[in-house]
Symmetry: C2
Subunit: 193 residues, 2 copies
């Protein structure tokens, strides 16, 4: 998505070797008009996949997921993060390791909001090592639901998440794909690749 | 907002004396179409207040806030919650006590995203004792910004938050005002009151 790449070039800040901060338009301050156009982009890509539910993880996934849900006219469920979780019969849970923060979180979804009748699109702000997507996928399997696709706002293609998803065969669409950071600058994958 | 009141009657669950769960359409599963109509409602009410920024708190405030930002065509900033916060020069912070969870959280906003040039509308999912609004108000004052109004999805009018805001003189608009819970049922304020 050209507009998003330009916005990342203009407002993103590269920190160290593999961190990109986009807190001025995506995950602290949010640009709702950009979110709406992103939702449209995800809708156009996945509109024939039979999706009836959007899944994401709090907090940064919520804005793009809700705009995507609006375009699909379907409900959005955001998984809750917990430091620890008391296992109950009411929740689907899984563990998500954060390489950035070097800590584990549990994520959970109330069983009332996911079932075998659901065909799900996962939306998330970042794809790096694929931990969050993997955690949601575990929950989707536990619920007997169907994972129809994964929509990512910003993919760091040089980390292993993309490769893992490609191997799994799940359709994935990332609005911006970053090949590398070079001298503090973002290098995007060529669109032909 | 009639549609919201009907939705609360249909899908809300009253727990004990003062808890209303609306996790099927507002704060776990989200109905994006309802969020959009709520954003429109807030826009119609506050459209002449000169608002150039929406403020909320993660996570449940994000969906209604982003839809409101879309209608106003202005950025949304969501305050981050922390168990503890290392004070730095980069952040505005304040403390928020949760009566439900009986714990204190800190909330913070990066100084780059709030300044004396901002005229702010606070959007939040619930108003009970007014702690979250109060925390955001402290941050707005620290930044030298102007608080132009407060938009609340569900107000529990029998708790003290509404009274405190009325005393402060800040314009407030709540889409649903709950007078009491009686026998597990929600009683709304009459619209004439």
């Amino acid at each position: 998505m050209k507009e998003l790449e330009e916005r990342i070039r203009k407002d993103g800040r590269v920190l160290g070797k593999d961190v990109l901060k986009v807190d001025s338009f995506l995950n602290h301050q949010v640009d709702p008009m950009l979110m709406e156009r992103m939702g449209e982009e995800f809708y156009n890509h996945f509109k024939d996949a039979g999706i009836n539910k959007i899944l994401t993880v709090e907090s940064s996934g919520i804005a793009p997921a809700v705009m995507t849900g609006l375009k699909f006219q379907v409900p959005v469920v955001f998984a809750r993060k917990h430091k620890s979780v008391t296992l109950t019969d009411d929740l689907y849970t899984s563990e998500v390791y954060s390489f950035t923060k070097k800590t584990s979180n549990h994520i959970s979804i109330d069983k009332r909001f996911l079932s075998k009748d659901d065909t799900v699109l996962i939306i998330d702000d970042f794809l790096a090592n694929g931990q969050a997507v993997n955690g949601l996928d575990t929950i989707i399997e536990d619920a007997g639901a169907t994972l129809a696709g994964i929509g990512i706002v910003i993919e760091k293609s040089f980390q292993k998440g993309r490769q893992l998803i490609d191997k799994s065969g799940t359709p994935i669409y990332s609005l911006a794909r970053i090949k590398a950071f070079e001298n503090g600058q973002v290098v995007f994958q060529d669109e032909e690749e």
